[in-house]
Symmetry: C2
Subunit: 160 residues, 2 copies
């Protein structure tokens, strides 16, 4: 027996090929892997704009629902209300969003984009589309729909 056919290692400290066991079969593991990759790509693509996915989602919701309340954004994005306070604090601090008085409920704030927020969001949407095309570039339109459908159904299964 020569060096090229040495016996299995006594331990796996130097193994190049690691056995992942049941992990690759788990949806949770694959979701985490994919999300990690996608999130990192998002940061590479939009990092210069100093925007996080949560902030981007918030801007999108405010644009599509002028005067929406913080609680409504929180519910839609599945954040706690207290988390939204901080997200809005940052966006308002950067002059992208304003808290206006609500016309019908004096407890709540009506959120609006500033002109600057609108301009930035227009740019961000383009970059996000480029990011999206990059990560889904290898998928056909049909496959994208399938992925969307399967993810939605996994979600339903997690709630029931």
């Amino acid at each position: 027996m020569n060096a090229a056919s040495r016996p299995p290692a006594a331990d796996a400290a130097r193994e190049e090929t690691i056995d992942l066991g049941m992990l690759p079969a788990l949806i949770g593991f694959n979701l985490r892997s994919a999300q990690l990759s996608v999130f990192q790509h998002f940061n590479r693509t939009l990092g210069k704009s100093e925007i996080t996915p949560a902030q981007f989602g918030t801007l999108i919701l405010i644009e599509a629902n002028q005067g929406i309340s913080q609680s409504a954004v929180a519910a839609a994005l599945r954040f706690d209300r207290s988390t939204l306070v901080q997200i809005i604090d940052r966006l308002e601090g950067r002059g992208l969003v304003v808290r206006k008085a609500s016309s019908r409920d004096r407890r709540s704030h009506a959120l609006q984009l500033t002109p600057r927020g609108e301009r930035l969001l227009a740019e961000l949407k383009q970059r996000v589309r480029a990011h999206e095309d990059a990560i889904a570039g290898a998928l056909s339109e049909d496959e994208r729909r399938t992925l969307h459908d399967l993810l939605t159904r996994v979600q339903s299964g997690s709630e029931g």
Copy 2:
């Protein structure tokens, strides 16, 4: 015009139906939603065992690769080495894992499950399978494979 056909609200503070804009079309958004649901379901199913997904993955890797090093686990799960230190600290503190001396590299630790760790992992695997069946229950075998394939390809697209 009666109350049932009132005009659009001046702001969206009370709208029940929120417009999510481009978000539902984004893979990143759907990944985050699905992962959030799946992670919460994991916690409901395995919370009693006081185990996190990261800890579970670590146990699986140690079982499948006796004597694996911390760096190898970190690389496989895409954690920093310093993060693995803390994960192993907790698992060792609970008597589930031991750091043994490596037989061939005195810098590294050969990780092993304790008998107690092996017993717990056997239970955990069953609970994780139940969790997996619950969240993927609505998916056929074919669809599970498709989801796995699509997530893998999204990942590839995020790296290139």
